[in-house]
Symmetry: C2
Subunit: 500 residues, 2 copies
């Protein structure tokens, strides 16, 4: 059967072959045809694919089949799904450069279909044009994507010395007891973490309240698996927010509900009463960069107590505070029973270490430890020993002080240049913490096209839309300054000026 492009009811406006009715290969056929049309340019970059309902009617397949085909194209980096606003053909520069295994998602019936949920796929494809997922080994680029760190600033010499010392120690006295919760012994990382967050974030806890994880992502996954009852638990997330975090909760079978964010942070009044878990970044919202106001914090804690909900506090870059009123972490001693506080060494040290932690309420810790045990026993012993010693010897505190000074100068430059180069066009939001600044586009321009054009000149910049789960309610850009120095910031913002 063939369907002419001009036939009534073809929402694509180009010709496709219709799969035979009821065929089990229909999903494969539709996928292959759409893929080919995107790759050869018949479906134009930036154009919107027909709604799932329309496509399903056109191809004569179920809406579920189309949802999976779209999800698969998203994993392949060929389309960008935007929840609520539709699915768009990705610009060539946004597509992955190699046809690696990770870009050929299959829909084999032997696989758990949870992993094909479009929202989950979207959460994981978030980093598609990010170092986590694609190569930037070609031309040097000005990389303004958030959550990156500058390895040029890391004290490799000290880290190497500490590593070697710990390797010798491991040889002389091989560790026998390895707890899933984190190394015990003389320089346990859990004790070092408790000290570190006590000093830098005023979070008071015991080493027994800390569980060491493979980065913040494993903390999210661990919390999702221990707290989510599949199909029952509702998880409220900030929208816009951090897509890989919501992916973890979706993978565990949670119902994920987006909640809006404004200049004071999460809009607590908009939380559904049914929320069992509320995920927030109160010090430095991702990606808006705002700090949650004191009133909102109090309201959120009151919400949690009233409804018996728990809070997951992601404090990914809380060590870097430059100005503004210091606000305590949500996880105060009074809230120790309601808040899971997640931290990471990816920002203050290196993401390559894959080390993070969660400070958990005592009623949950034994189950978290059992789950960590089941997931991968424990984090690598040597890495834990090295980071523990690095902290105990004061190297982390020194490094954070150094970075804080450097990052503050970068933030100030980004903010000042945004104000002087883009008056009336981009309004930077107040950002007292961390490694990125967000700016609203007052013109409401379609910024995804601008960032796609910039990517061609090797300037990497994110627009807001990829952070939204629901329909984007605002337009803007995110300027991460973790991996660009002052000269690079200047070059990058001038390039943006030319592109706008």
């Amino acid at each position: 059967m063939n369907n002419d492009g001009n036939a009534t009811g073809n929402p694509f406006e180009i010709a496709f072959e219709l799969p035979p009715k009821g065929s089990r290969r229909s999903s494969e056929s539709v996928h292959a045809q759409l893929r080919a049309a995107i790759l050869d340019g018949r479906l134009v970059p930036g154009s919107r694919l027909p709604a799932e309902r329309q496509s399903a009617a056109f191809f004569g397949v179920s809406r579920n089949t189309i949802a999976r085909v779209y999800a698969r194209l998203a994993v392949e980096g060929l389309v960008l799904p935007r929840h609520g606003s539709g699915t768009y053909v990705a610009a060539k520069q946004q597509r992955p450069r190699r046809d690696s295994a990770s870009t050929r998602l299959t829909t084999d019936p032997r696989l758990n279909p949870l992993w094909l949920q479009p929202e989950l796929v979207l959460g994981l494809s978030f980093w598609h044009d990010n170092p986590h997922a694609t190569s930037s080994r070609t031309a040097p680029s000005l990389d303004f994507r958030p959550a990156l760190v500058d390895p040029r600033l890391f004290p490799f010499d000290i880290f190497r010395r500490v590593s070697v010392g710990q390797l010798r120690r491991m040889e002389l006295k091989p560790p026998v007891f390895k707890s899933p919760q984190g190394n015990p012994g003389h320089f346990p990382l859990r004790a070092a973490v408790a000290t570190h967050i006590g000093v830098s974030r005023a979070v008071v806890c015991e080493p027994d309240d800390v569980l060491v994880t493979a980065g913040a992502q494993q903390a999210f996954d661990l919390l999702a698996r221990t707290l989510v009852k599949p199909g029952i638990t509702t998880v409220a997330i900030e929208d816009p927010g951090y897509p890989p975090m919501r992916a973890a909760f979706l993978a565990a079978g949670a119902k994920v509900v987006p909640v809006p964010v404004d200049a004071e942070g999460l809009v607590v009044d908009a939380l559904p009463a049914s929320a069992h878990i509320v995920c927030v970044c109160p010090s430095h919202q991702f990606p808006f960069g705002v700090s949650m106001s004191a009133q909102r914090r109090a309201a959120l804690l009151a919400f949690a107590r009233k409804h018996g909900a728990v809070i997951v506090e992601d404090d990914y870059d809380g060590e870097f505070r430059y100005d503004g009123t210091p606000l305590q972490a949500l996880r105060s001693t009074a809230a120790a029973d309601d808040v899971f506080y997640v931290g990471t060494f990816s920002k203050c040290m290196l993401p390559a270490l894959r080390l993070g932690f969660v400070v958990a309420p005592r009623w949950a810790m034994p189950t978290l430890v059992a789950a960590k045990n089941c997931l991968d026993w424990h984090c690598p012993t040597l890495t834990q020993m090295t980071v523990a010693r690095f902290i105990a010897d004061g190297h982390l505190a020194r490094h954070v002080r150094k970075l804080r000074k450097i990052y503050k100068t970068r933030r100030d430059l980004v903010r000042d240049m945004l104000q002087s180069l883009f008056p009336g066009e981009l309004s930077p939001m107040p950002s007292h913490y961390g490694m990125h600044v967000a700016a609203f586009s007052s013109a409401g321009k379609h910024l995804a096209r601008v960032t796609a054009r910039l990517a061609e000149t090797n300037v990497q910049l994110h627009s807001f839309d990829r952070y939204f789960l629901d329909t984007p309610t605002s337009q803007g850009l995110v300027f991460g300054y973790g991996a660009v120095d002052l000269d690079e910031i200047e070059m990058g913002l001038k390039a943006l000026r030319r592109a706008l």
Copy 2:
């Protein structure tokens, strides 16, 4: 309300207070009382707790409540559940030494109850008297538990040199692209793994078929999460088998079905036709130590093809072959679509590295990569680089050759001493691979008591029963020789002679 020890219907024979009817604290009350009775010796070590049904009737609570109380006591190391044969009060030496967080499992309704399944708890408490979970930092002990390695044999000097080299390399050229599947670049671990298993196990695969995991346990967890549809998928496991592996599948919501093992390995004829996944250790069954016969291998592959099932092949110590007919891994090129081949660096290097891998069929790899991404992004970059270089420079092959020689001498000594010291009492099973030998007890003695007595003199030895999910069908002992040298083997077996 009080219940006298001699009252009719009290299956405990000691007095307990009955919780008020319908109280939400009844589970806490029953748990606290049983715990106290075990700790103060009123419930005698080695004695059997009443069946769940009886206890539930006595305390006036649901059977589910009792199951959770028993599970919680098991996690606390106070009782040893033996599926099908009941729950026994643990000997004092079998209990954990500190009241650590991991020994106080709670039943808070906010937690996912999957983690309280008694069989899962049993799987995870398997290592309770093992270095993974408790300390042996006190007196030196003769440790015959399987799956341990001797860190005294590890070439720490070479490993340190390689580590430092890779740290320098990382400083000069910080890795930008980090794939969830495993490091790309010039010394990718995936390529090194493909070479290593090609040489040592004749498994032919491409680097793109390999995914790097945080040890074999993460490989099991990853497979469970991507292949199991909760409540639907049936997983057949060897019984006896490796308890932490079945814990991973239980945690994912699988129906786990035990299948017997004999001298030829898994009894393929006993597989339920409904099995979607079959987990096996064909080279060296855990704990029996037998190798799966060629006929059984062929039958298993035929079963998988006939029923559309997949096979998870755990080849944890396949590098160490001493004699017998070399048998190919199940994961041959012809079976590449049906078999997930799991390997680890815990045995041939060190468990503290937390590094393993899975060779996966191509239809499943993209989903595995997406899941790994969601679980923890990727394994630590430096550890991957170091192990990749360690392999590429030939250090792993040299180390395996050295270990193979040493382990063979140890195995021969264990076997010979078993035959000379325990004729008619213990029959060693043929074991051509790995780091342990199992021996049947022809007398059918209750060996758990013997091993408890030995533990008092610091000889650590496992009896078969803890490996069974179903009622144990045979009695015997497992002699791991990974962490004991020839002198220690002699001392340990003489101590066993005295104890029997």
